[in-house]
Assembly symmetry: C2
Homo-oligomer: 479 residues x 2
């Protein structure tokens, strides 16, 4: 057992609550992270004296700053201390660039993300060869770095909340170093059935499942993902999970969201959108440029709607906000190029002097995204597979039009929103087109009633109570 540290509560995640934007003559520009999830966890951390958030340094600037801190804690740096305002401390792990890249891109985002979203193309990918094994060794080292840092920081009997698929091995490693601490883990992605998960190499399957089972409490967004994980343990590990599996369906924080969505830049974007769409109906979607989000089939469905239901010509505009993501992976760049091609085809086929049927923005434009949500008559999310999809919940909260929702049944949010959304098979373009029509044509009274219920469900478990519920569940588990 390592000697104990001081922290009674630790959050561990790849991306932390701070980013270092520039290091200039020792003058670091530190940006405090926003977003519902981060602020939800920050509330609990702030309430626990000496709490620490442990994360990875994501680039050379962050690594340089992290290495300067002799205690390992970023509050040594005055600019950081100022940004943290004494709420809690941050330890940023200066994992070397190669290890980080191989672990983050090679394993987390290429191997595990694809496995957990069933995105493989089995005729060609995955390929587990010698080069892949080197990446896997980096993922092990990355997880080891976290386990060691957590073990060093954790007070006797501390509570440690580990986040997501970047850190599936760390719970077991930590448990072995520090059997006294209580470990929770939350997976923000889906989980898949054993028949799919076993595509990974046998020893890797065992290490990942057993690694996660090092946690006392294992959280998922939905029953379905939790059941798949339990099935993996039973079938592939040969034992029922000894840990407690529990479902915490994260939702969104309406107040925080509203506040941001009515700032001046968003209001300006709403006015810009009004100039484009006039009083037409808006089908809005906001996604990262991420294969699992299924934008391509979404556009195909919109095209089929315009082809089969000409009554909507000149009466609807599809507004698609895509913010760029994972552009260092070639499949993502190719996919985005295909999205742009199809958008041009749709424009060529349908646009007139007076009507722009499709607005596609591929840009990091948060005000534009929020404006789209506010203006959406129909909210459209058709992910191939999605741990939860918070965007659909945010759009429900922000839409000023009592929106109808067309939602993939394979997004975790489908479990939260149920039949008040129009659920579709994400591969079924014709069914999706029909659902878009149904959403556009929904009688007003039905739409109002559904929207009212949807708004309630969309805020059922915001980040702060979501995190608190996990801490409570962990506290109830005798250790």
């Amino acid at each position: 057992m390592s000697s104990s540290g001081r922290a009674p509560l630790i959050v561990a995640s790849n991306r932390g609550p701070l980013s270092i934007v520039a290091v200039d003559d020792g003058d670091d520009d530190v940006r405090r992270g926003g977003g519902g999830l981060v602020s939800g966890m920050q509330a609990a951390l702030s309430a626990a004296p000496d709490a620490v958030w442990i994360c990875a340094a994501l680039n050379d600037r962050e690594r340089a700053m992290a290495r300067k801190c002799t205690s390992g804690r970023l509050s040594e740096v005055p600019a950081v201390a100022e940004a943290l305002a004494g709420d809690f401390d941050v330890r940023m792990l200066p994992i070397d660039a190669l290890t980080f890249r191989q672990s983050y891109n090679g394993i987390a985002n290429s191997t595990l993300w694809f496995a957990l979203h069933m995105l493989y193309e089995p005729a060609r990918s995955p390929v587990f060869d010698q080069a892949w094994r080197r990446q896997w060794a980096s993922y092990v080292r990355y997880n080891r770095a976290f386990a060691d840092a957590i073990a060093a920081e954790a007070a006797d009997g501390a509570t440690v909340m580990v986040q997501d698929y970047h850190l599936l091995l760390a719970p077991r490693m930590l448990r072995e170093l520090r059997p006294d601490v209580r470990i929770g883990h939350f997976t923000h992605t889906p989980w898949v059935p054993p028949e799919y998960f076993r595509m990974l190499p046998d020893d890797v399957v065992r290490d990942l499942l057993d690694g996660l089972l090092g946690a006392h409490l294992i959280g998922f967004h939905t029953d379905r993902w939790a059941r798949h994980f339990a099935d993996c343990c039973t079938e592939l590990l040969g034992r029922a999970p000894g840990s407690r599996l529990e479902v915490f369906p994260l939702s969104t924080d309406a107040d925080e969201l509203h506040e941001r969505a009515y700032e001046r830049d968003v209001n300006r974007a709403v006015r810009g959108l009004r100039d484009t769409v006039g009083d037409r109906k808006v089908i809005g979607r906001v996604d990262r440029t991420e294969l699992s989000k299924n934008v391509l089939r979404g556009l195909l469905a919109y095209r089929e709607l315009l082809r089969t239901r000409p009554e909507w010509h000149d009466r609807v505009v599809h507004v698609v906000y895509n913010y760029p993501s994972r552009e260092d992976l070639p499949e993502y760049r190719e996919y985005t190029a295909a999205v742009e091609r199809l958008a041009r085809e749709i424009d060529d086929e349908f646009s007139t002097d007076d009507w722009t049927p499709l607005v596609l923005e591929i840009a990091d434009d948060y005000p534009g995204s929020l404006a789209t949500m506010r203006r959406s008559d129909v909210i459209f999310v058709n992910s191939v597979r999605d741990g939860m999809n918070l965007v659909v919940l945010e759009a429900i909260v922000l839409s000023e039009r009592d929106p109808a929702v067309v939602l993939s049944r394979d997004a975790g949010a489908a479990e939260t929103l149920g039949e008040d959304a129009l659920l579709v098979n994400p591969f079924d373009v014709s069914e999706t087109a029909a659902a878009l029509h149904e959403a556009l044509a929904m009688p007003e009274d039905e739409r109002l009633v559904r929207a009212q219920r949807l708004r309630k469900k969309a805020v059922a478990l915001p980040p702060a109570p979501w995190f608190r519920a996990q801490l409570d569940a962990l506290a109830r588990i005798s250790g």
Copy 2:
């Protein structure tokens, strides 16, 4: 109920036991089909007077001939009557070319084959849109044509054996037309878990499952495929299958195979191979150019073997026979091109003046394939997924070298051969390379003992008893 016909036993399959090679001034060149499966079923048909094999006309020549037969039976044509020699009759359905193409290429080979082998690339395929719906309507018509023809031919209480994924709807259609007949169906492909099968449109999922459940007896090659089908019924149809599910693991007919494999053309090919490989070890594989066969990762594994185990340089030759298949599907042409590129890379990296490390033949060369099987020290099959894979069984029977077998655990044959083969995860190139080394280096006494057991398992249930077992099982079901 339609009026009854005369046939007490009917086999229905897409491809029949005859092909019409040319129609020239009324002179038809008729070729009687060979191959273990066809001859196995022919034995039972010949024993039942008035038995009929119903199949689709596969091209314009066959459609023209089928249309000439006023009774619908091909024995009207003298050349066919001669070829059939009174064994049984053949009814070839002159389904129009568009319906056939959409059903066969669009649905059977692109949609169902990909679904049942988990070959989709979910970010992009499948796409179920209007164009796809037209193909699906053709699949329905194709199945309807079979059901109608079977209903017209079947005697009271006849036995009907329907084959494979081309005809998943026909059993229910037939059952409704003719509740008096006993229907068996055999699926030669794998089946997949509900989480994967449900990618298909909801109504299609229901129609396919319910269509197959029209059969009294539903056969699969392995327990695993049968279990997946049962799970699909329970989870997606909401009911346990009322039909009897049973496993009939087809194997190979050693006598027929030996006879063919020692004809003069094969002996010549064996001598040709000897000139190329000398007394080196041969890793042999014989496949169709089919995505599920996983040739690309097979070559990657061979390359990794040569890179990590230089002791095999100049001591091993990998002989790969690929006979062209489905060249009308672009993904297949691209895949084959990638296989050829990788083969050239391997040749560039390792070949010397004296040593050709890799022989890749992409050609329809049956004698060459049999020669490869006879000469193989290691038999290599690494299918991504495979209903059974008869080739590995044939190669075990034919190899003159007491072969070691490296086999995908996701081929049905893995259930038949078990741990006497070296089973590998088909996605794990490094594990596969290690298994190839283990197979090459296996101590002789161990290899002999395993090969002896493998030969026994490879002939456990040849086509004729396999088919007879299904007829017996069907007869035992009270109807």
